[in-house]
Symmetry: C2
Subunit: 138 residues, 2 copies
């Protein structure tokens, strides 16, 4: 919901250098980050990971879906769980990579709030975003 | 205007691992990005660079203020100028690093829109952001 696509004219750009590729419609994204010190407590990567865990029921499968190593996914989730008052995911024990993983009420709530913030922001700023896109070359 | 700071209790966190540093108040940032293909056409780095050029009147000084190499600043600005219908900065010629640089009407407009989008988004989402911060450990 937070992505706007605006038509970009498909006219070829005669300039040879890297530029906002002509013909590719621009995409607008809000990337909300909550940081505490050096740490990103909540951000788009962690929220996407939670969503993938919710969809697949497994941290291993979620990591694979996101093209991320298991180690990195585990680290992001651990960092997130430690940033929250209650963990976002419950992981069953068993085996090297554990059993299944499922979202807690906190995890579901976090996804819901994050995505709603994204769409509220996009809606509230639609006019200014359209004007900003109007400054781009077409 | 797009930064919220919420009080975080200064109680020590007994867990040893990296976490949203207890005692450091969380900071919320919207980082709006406009991408076209692989290229970030407009984003927080480019807008900060424009602001620094507006303040200093020079790409060299702007790069220094942002702790960025001249080469990187030049590349970001070049990419931005090529993404826009009209360049954001006029650079006077002369010398290796050119003469002064000043914002064009497009550059000033871009900064204005970008910052207004930031603050509108933060205002529109204030309630949900407060709820999201309420999920963090304190």
């Amino acid at each position: 919901v937070s992505r706007f696509a605006a038509k970009a004219a498909a006219t070829a750009n005669p300039r040879p250098r890297k530029t906002a590729s002509p013909g590719v419609p621009p995409v607008v994204r809000f990337r909300l980050r909550v940081t505490a010190g050096d740490v990103i407590a909540i951000g788009p990567g962690k929220v996407s990971l939670l969503e993938a865990i919710g969809e697949t029921g497994s941290l291993t499968a979620a990591a694979k879906n996101l093209g991320m190593s298991y180690r990195r996914a585990w680290m992001l989730l651990d960092q997130l769980n430690r940033s929250l008052a209650q963990p976002a995911v419950d992981s069953a024990k068993g085996g090297l990579h554990g059993g299944g993983s499922e979202l807690t009420a906190t995890g579901r709530r976090l996804i819901e709030l994050y995505r709603r913030i994204d769409s509220t922001a996009a809606r509230a700023c639609a006019d200014d975003i359209a004007q900003m896109l109007g400054l781009l070359a077409r």
